[in-house]
């Protein structure tokens, strides 16, 4: 009953424009992260005190920082951390959060306990919570990831839970019970797919937030060793003399804006795409 038509190119772009643009930016970032050694023009950790605070030039595409390191290379390598955190944190947040949300929505007893904890977590200011967890766990990217996952969990859990609660009213779940389907079966095969739509979108749209949060924490020197190239630290590093040499902050900031914009744009496009199709 459904026919597929070939869409003219103009329409295709109009419909999927956001995903295309966003997707291109994301692709570029991924390539940068993977092939960083080939794309970076210099060694990102190489101190060069004879060339501090250099303005952008053909030698140093974005100039050099307080220690004479090439900013462009540091941003390229920094992409690794940002993408790793972005994908990693959201992956775990979505998986664990969905798991908790489904359990909460399904079992009243679990709900009473777990949701209380989630609410408790949710009422805490996110930046501070992340900072505290990161401080407790110590420096290191895995630990920072855990801290960020902790802040993201309650939101995912709550949303999934409400989806599950509204699904439980649907009759096909009652039928499953009448058929004698096990709880596990219902949760995995029936409830999960209905939530998947939200979860996928949450994964994509969450990446931008994670990158910003991670950069903010790095800027405050929390959680990551500041000598490892990452976006936040680059900006923090440039803070000292930026009034005189604003390039140290300007270009890294714009870089970040473009990157985050790519993710948000892609996520928006994806959401539009998935939404009306479903019904």
């Amino acid at each position: 009953m459904k026919t597929k038509r070939r869409m003219p190119l103009k329409n295709f772009i109009k419909r999927n424009g956001r995903m295309l643009v966003g997707g291109t930016i994301i692709a570029v970032l991924i390539i940068m992260a993977v092939f960083a050694p080939y794309i970076a023009t210099h060694d990102p950790d190489a101190y060069d005190y004879t060339n501090r605070f250099d303005l952008p030039s053909s030698e140093h595409l974005l100039g050099t920082d307080t220690h004479g390191r090439d900013i462009f290379s540091r941003m390229v390598y920094g992409t690794r951390i940002s993408l790793l955190l972005g994908f990693g944190v959201n992956f775990f947040a979505v998986v664990v959060g969905a798991f908790c949300g489904i359990l909460c929505g399904y079992f009243k007893k679990v709900d009473a306990v777990l949701m209380r904890i989630m609410e408790g977590l949710h009422s805490l200011p996110t930046t501070l919570l992340a900072m505290v967890v990161a401080s407790v766990l110590g420096p290191g990217i895995e630990k920072l990831m855990i801290a960020l996952v902790v802040t993201a969990l309650p939101g995912v859990c709550r949303m999934t839970r409400s989806q599950v609660l509204s699904l439980r009213q649907k009759e096909f779940i009652e039928v499953e019970k009448a058929m004698g389907a096990s709880h596990l079966r219902i949760m995995l095969l029936h409830i999960m797919p209905s939530c998947s739509h939200y979860l996928i979108i949450r994964f994509c749209t969450g990446i931008s937030g994670t990158i910003l949060s991670a950069a903010t924490l790095a800027y405050l020197s929390v959680g990551l060793d500041p000598t490892i190239p990452n976006w936040g630290a680059t900006i923090a590093d440039g803070q000292g003399m930026f009034l005189v040499y604003p390039h140290m902050i300007l270009w890294p900031g714009i870089w970040m804006i473009v990157a985050v914009f790519g993710f948000i744009f892609f996520g928006e496009g994806l959401r539009e795409r998935l939404d009306p199709r479903l019904k």
Partner: protein
């Protein structure tokens, strides 16, 4: 279709389904008494209708009977054996014998599953047939039985109309070759023209597969079409039960009379003076003492504040009223 020897396939005795209300610690415990002591028999091969207004407990009743919600109290007996205490594998086996058909064809099917998988699922859960081919053969057979083209096996629910979806739901219900089918407003959400088709299908299936139906509906005309016996419920209790003829031509309980008088019929014989009831349905949290209906009954007296007796008017026509036969 009545046999002189009627076998009881399902017995319900004093079934109660009370739902606790959330209360702060200093407030008294309160319950929604959705089903408050219901007893009746279901005979093999018949279609028993359950009628009543919204909130009378009929939907809760069949869910309790199938133990989708565990009853708060009472006995359930299926095919001579106790159904309430059964667990695990034997519960599973008994469950295959009774299935449900729900009202809303749009929410009865998982939108993410193909029609074929949906009908197949009960076979997988109950481990009927060992191979996929066998299962799918059965699925196709079922689809044909309900009047669906088996080639639609890989389509999704949203590609079908309401009536077709209901057929899918029925096919799924039949997968485990049940003996008893509980229908909760199975045709209420369908267009009138489609309704007749589905009702006819159900009748056909009953003949072909020797099924017993318990059919819940608020629509008396539907019940008149398909049922052998009808049970009238009000606020969690049964007020009258009898054959179709008895109920429609000789309604005895005041509530039944009011219900029938409000239903528009084409049949002049049945057209009566409309009896208007006063007041609203009381809350099931605090139902009236004694006869639940006495607060709105035009014939109520002081005596009605006592629990009414169940009077047998002959031929299985039972009425719960103090004044049976004394009201014209």
């Amino acid at each position: 279709m009545e046999n002189t020897e009627k076998k009881v396939i399902f017995k319900v005795r004093d079934l109660k389904q009370w739902f606790p209300l959330k209360r702060w610690f200093f407030e008294k415990k309160a319950y929604v008494k959705a089903v408050d002591g219901v007893s009746f028999d279901v005979y093999e091969g018949e279609t028993l209708g359950v009628a009543g207004e919204s909130g009378c407990g009929k939907s809760t009743l069949i869910r309790s009977m199938l133990r989708i919600i565990e009853p708060s109290d009472g006995q359930l007996e299926y095919d001579g054996t106790d159904f309430r205490s059964v667990r695990g594998k034997s519960l599973q086996r008994k469950r295959c014998d009774m299935q449900m058909v729900f009202q809303d064809p749009y929410s009865s099917l998982d939108p993410f599953w193909t029609v074929g998988s949906t009908i197949e699922e009960p076979l997988i859960i109950n481990k009927i047939y060992k191979t996929k081919e066998e299962r799918m053969a059965r699925v196709r057979e079922l689809m044909q039985q309900v009047g669906l083209d088996p080639s639609y096996v890989d389509r999704y629910p949203h590609e079908f109309s309401g009536g077709q979806r209901q057929r899918i739901v029925i096919a799924r219900a039949l997968a485990t070759t049940p003996k008893l089918l509980m229908c909760d407003e199975a045709v209420s959400a369908l267009d009138v023209s489609v309704r007749a088709q589905i009702l006819n299908l159900l009748e056909q299936l009953q003949d072909d597969l020797k099924l017993t139906y318990v059919f819940v509906s608020h629509d008396l005309s539907v019940l008149e079409h398909i049922c052998d016996r009808i049970m009238i419920m009000y606020l969690g209790k049964v007020v009258e039960i009898g054959t179709k003829e008895d109920i429609f031509h000789n309604p005895t309980h005041p509530y039944t009379k009011a219900l029938l008088s409000a239903a528009p019929t084409v049949d002049d014989d049945l057209q009566q003076e409309e009896i208007l009831l006063e007041g609203d349905i009381p809350s099931p949290v605090k139902p009236p003492v004694g006869c639940r209906f006495h607060t709105r009954c035009p014939y109520a007296t002081e005596k009605c504040k006592e629990e009414p007796p169940v009077v047998d008017c002959g031929n299985g026509h039972l009425v719960a009223c103090h004044y049976v036969g004394q009201i014209d």
